[in-house]
């Protein structure tokens, strides 16, 4: 087998050295019932080209966003990832190293993490960021748990602007640790007002900007209301490119920002692995979950980096840790860092504006289609529309015609709510004029 260096000759000389006659003698501690000697219903080993053939056939059974015009978003976005990003993250020194627990021989990973943390803090308008979480949704749940630790209160309000996967994950993680969580009704028109729900028992308020239906809102009055009541404002960002065009959540008064970083550097990949961003104000740093990389010097006085403040973490603090996370999203964070490095200040802003321009143009075109009503006035690169028919059926019909029209709200909220006719439509720098025409034509036909 190509991945196994030992030959039979190696094996027998090693067994001699150990002083046993067969490898079975090394498994003596396994009780007889545990010694499996049946046959698995699985194939035997395969040549590399056979694996490739089989898996390519499987991949080819998908019609993807690269094959046909696509307008899907709702937390995962199609953007161009520069070739050098994918090349660099595949360098073995990055790809095949472990968590940088030995800083002397992990300065590459550590410095990149420090750059990642710096970039995340800058774009979110926060003081500090950690070295990543599994994804945006788990990051959101961790933020609510942190708010509880910080405020010692146990009530959380989750806005109807928040992606249902994020609220579901948060609710799931909260339910066995006595956090009383109030998930608000879907905020379809972007006018939700949470102020009456916030009092001196509220640990945190979670809102998403842009919201799940696309609305861009000014959060500053909500932020001051939270502050007056001693509650933390947690802002969720599911499309991180928006931070290149919009005022940062920090500037609007957020205490914690959690985001999905997939859009920068990472493919849609059918949902993962992605990279959860977690950023907060400095005063919360010792309550944050996850790894942190910090600057220091070595014995020669040279600048270097280490993992730090580990007394928050499970390997030191065990059941008193701030989170149970260990493995995070290191390589996806690296892809994020390299892509954002390439974009830089101007590229990031230009990319964001280009996304907005494409979406704004698309909204213009759709507004002219009978049976389509664009809902948000202000949005970034995604907006909800109300169709004259159930959106799930329309999406299926358009898929059959070779257009991936977007995400029907029913996909996230279930069928049979008053959101059945709502469709979420996203554009990006990759959305061409032809793509837009294809959507407009197909929708007009389907809705007529």
């Amino acid at each position: 087998m190509r991945y196994l260096p030992l030959t039979d000759a190696d094996r027998s000389s090693m067994l001699d050295r150990i002083g046993v006659s067969s490898v079975d003698d090394l498994f003596v501690d396994v009780p007889a019932v545990g010694q499996f000697d049946g046959a698995f219903d699985l194939p035997d080993h395969m040549a590399e080209f056979d694996v490739e053939r089989l898996m390519s056939a499987m991949a080819n059974r998908n019609i993807t966003t690269a094959d046909v015009p696509s307008f899907l978003g709702a937390g995962a976005y199609r953007h161009h990832v520069p070739a050098s990003v994918d090349y660099l993250i595949q360098r073995g020194e990055f790809l095949t190293s472990y968590t940088p627990y030995q800083p002397e021989i992990s300065q590459g990973t550590l410095q990149a993490l420090f750059e990642f943390q710096s970039m995340v803090a800058l774009i979110t308008g926060m003081d500090v960021a950690n070295a990543s979480m599994y994804d945006g949704a788990t990051s959101c749940a961790e933020a609510v748990l942190m708010a509880r630790r910080v405020t010692r209160r146990n009530r959380a309000v989750v806005s109807g602007s928040v992606h249902p996967h994020y609220s579901a994950v948060t609710e799931t993680q909260a339910k066995y640790v006595d956090i009383d969580i109030d998930i608000r009704e879907p905020d379809l028109d972007g006018t939700e007002d949470l102020t009456d729900l916030i009092d001196d028992q509220t640990a945190c308020v979670v809102v998403q900007n842009p919201g799940i239906f696309g609305h861009v809102r000014d959060l500053s009055s909500l932020a001051s209301h939270c502050q007056e009541n001693g509650a933390l404002l947690i802002v969720v960002v599911t499309e991180v490119v928006s931070l290149g065009a919009l005022q940062s959540p920090g500037a609007m008064g957020a205490d914690v920002v959690v985001a999905e970083g997939q859009s920068i550097g990472n493919p849609q990949g059918f949902g993962g692995p992605y990279v959860g961003l977690f950023a907060a104000r400095q005063k919360y740093v010792r309550q944050m979950p996850g790894r942190l990389c910090g600057e220091t010097t070595d014995v020669d006085g040279k600048r270097g980096w280490v993992l730090t403040l580990s007394t928050r973490e499970q390997h030191i603090r065990r059941e008193k840790a701030t989170s149970n996370i260990c493995t995070n999203a290191g390589l996806c964070a690296l892809a994020f860092t390299i892509h954002l490095a390439l974009l830089g200040e101007n590229g990031f802003r230009d990319m964001a504006m280009l996304n907005h321009a494409r979406a704004s143009k698309l909204a213009d075109l759709l507004e002219a289609v009978d049976g389509v009503e664009v809902l948000p006035q202000a949005f970034f690169n995604e907006f909800a529309v109300r169709l004259s028919k159930p959106a799930g059926d329309v999406v299926n019909a358009l898929a059959a015609k070779g257009v991936l029209a977007g995400v029907p709200a029913s996909r996230l909220y279930g069928v049979g709510t008053d959101l059945d006719n709502i469709l979420m439509i996203a554009a990006s720098e990759l959305t061409s004029a032809d793509d837009m025409d294809a959507l407009v034509d197909a929708l007009s036909e389907e809705l007529s």
Binding site: P5, R17, A76, E93, L122, I123, G271, T308, G330
Partner: protein, 523 residues
């Protein structure tokens, strides 16, 4: 501590007698500033078309002022991260015997497969009919894992091992609540003292208290002590098998019976599944759930800290409580159950992750499984265990193995052999860096003093192991010869020498910032 741009600080040519340290480079060891320090306003690494005319609809909330990101061209970015990469150790470079982490070879076929456009460009919320291949793949990986573990059900969505633990422990909690028709009174989880830190941390984030069970003199769970702790407030036990001492828990059947009779559930931490894959089905040992780190046993790359994937196999008792989503196969092909109210008889405890799990890791793991096949996977376990026992037998007369008898895929030593040498486990590990090795896991598990946990994995050759053994023996000789100051000074040949972790934690600098830089320059 400073943000100085002077990277040559500390390397004085006069003191070393060397030439060529103008910028701190030493031969092929190249110094590299922070990206922020090579900022060149006006430079850019990506070309974008002009947006053309459009109506601005940002609601008056557009960003004003600079973000503060650096401007760098593509060649400079490529060089920057290439240089950074060269400061890392990696499996591609050499033996990485980090116990409990299973740092095996990461086949590049896996990377090629995950980049197939049909997988890479699939959006998670496409209509089901357009992504049948993706569902087929998830279903395929699920089937392999169920076969290999002998368990009837699986939850695929957890993001890594610890997240899988959370999934399993939540399923236990949900099953107990369901059985008792309300919040369970069983709030105690038993965890051996040798457990990985994520086990107690997971129990705690799920609202359980943690009760520690001691290990016995053989490095196994002390079954008598465990039995004495059983009471009607015990929710379950979390046992790692093979355990973190690299030993198989021989009393699994008895433990399973005891916990089940006491009304609790059996969580098995499967981080060390590599030792037994294809030879032992944990399902035959009476467990209720087990997470599998695809980034260990199934060769998906660690990537400097992640991502991973931690699917959890479940017994019939826990299966109904698995979180959404899951793939089902019906007449019209594959589809997805995404909402608890569409779950039929099942009673999912909720959702653990956005979308459907770590698809990219499933693709990689599937390429690995198919490559090995059932026969190859059994050989993986055999060779992993053989390699670890070989290393143990070659070192046991100079180092001190903590326990007698054969080990599984990793061998555990403690620091008794260093007694009176003045060399600590840490010093010993740092000396290994100068010899070109990543050290073994140190000071874990906590049950032996100055632990050194060596896991070679099956992808090391005999020649590689012989070289490793020779290095270890030479270092032991040096330590015993009274050379402790050399150990205390190690490493000396690495991109950085020992770093000041105390100051890093006391005065944390966690990001670059223009203010700190300005202050430093002004000084």
């Amino acid at each position: 501590m400073s943000h100085s741009r002077d990277l040559s600080r500390g390397i004085s040519p006069a003191s070393t007698g060397m030439l060529g340290t103008v910028h701190g480079h030493q031969g092929l060891q190249l110094e590299e500033p922070l990206l922020f320090e090579i900022d060149n306003p006006g430079a850019i690494g990506v070309d974008l078309p002009e947006p053309g005319d459009f109506i601005l609809r940002l609601g008056g909330l557009e960003r004003n002022g600079e973000i503060g990101l650096p401007c760098v061209s593509e060649p400079e970015v490529v060089r920057h991260y290439t240089r950074l990469s060269q400061k890392n150790y990696a499996i591609d470079m050499g033996t990485y015997p980090l116990g409990s982490c299973t740092m095996k070879h990461n086949p590049r076929l896996n990377e090629k497969m995950v980049r197939l456009p049909g997988f890479a460009n699939a959006h998670p919320l496409q209509p089901e009919a357009t992504v049948q291949g993706a569902f087929e793949l998830i279903d395929g990986v699920a089937y392999w894992l169920k076969q290999l573990t002998g368990m009837p059900a699986i939850a695929m969505s957890p993001g890594a091992g610890a997240h899988g633990e959370l999934c399993g422990v939540m399923a236990i909690r949900a099953a107990l609540d369901d059985r008792e028709g309300g919040p369970t009174k069983r709030r105690r989880i038993l965890v051996p003292d040798s457990a990985h830190g994520t086990n107690p941390a997971t129990a705690a984030v799920c609202g359980f208290s943690v009760d520690t069970i001691p290990s016995d003199a053989r490095g196994r769970v002390d079954v008598k002590a465990f039995a004495e702790k059983l009471d009607d407030d015990v929710a379950g036990i979390m046992i790692t098998n093979p355990n973190t001492c690299g030993l198989f828990e021989p009393d699994m059947i008895e433990i399973a019976e005891l916990i089940h009779n006491a009304g609790g559930y059996f969580y098995c931490d499967g981080a060390n599944f590599n030792a037994i894959v294809g030879r032992v089905r944990p399902g035959d040992l009476g467990i209720d759930c087990m997470h599998i780190n695809l980034h260990k046993t199934f060769s998906t790359p660690h990537g400097g800290g992640g991502p991973g994937a931690g699917p959890v196999v479940l017994s019939d008792a826990l299966a109904p409580f698995a979180p959404v989503p899951w793939v089902v196969h019906g007449e019209k092909g594959f589809s997805l159950v995404e909402h608890p109210d569409a779950a039929g008889e099942a009673k999912p405890f909720g959702r653990l992750k956005g979308f459907h799990g770590q698809m990219g890791m499933f693709v990689r793991a599937y390429a690995y499984m198919l490559s090995h096949g059932r026969d190859g996977l059994r050989q993986v376990a055999n060779d992993a265990v053989l390699n670890a026992n070989y290393v143990m037998s070659c070192l046991s007369n100079v180092m001190t193995p903590s326990f007698e008898g054969p080990c599984m895929h990793e061998c555990l030593f403690d620091d008794r052999f260093l007694k009176d040498t003045g060399v600590s486990t840490l010093d010993f590990a740092k000396a290994m860096l100068d010899e070109g090795y990543h050290p073994m896991t140190m000071y874990f598990p906590l049950v032996v003093h100055g632990a050194m946990l060596i896991e070679p994995t099956e992808t090391e050759s005999k020649r590689g192991l012989d070289e490793f053994v020779a290095v270890m023996r030479a270092l032991v000789d040096r330590a015993k010869a009274g050379d402790s100051s050399a150990f205390a000074a190690a490493p000396t040949m690495t991109p950085r020498r020992r770093l000041d972790e105390t100051t890093a934690a006391r005065e944390p600098i966690l990001r670059w910032s223009p203010e700190v830089l300005a202050a430093e320059t002004a000084k």
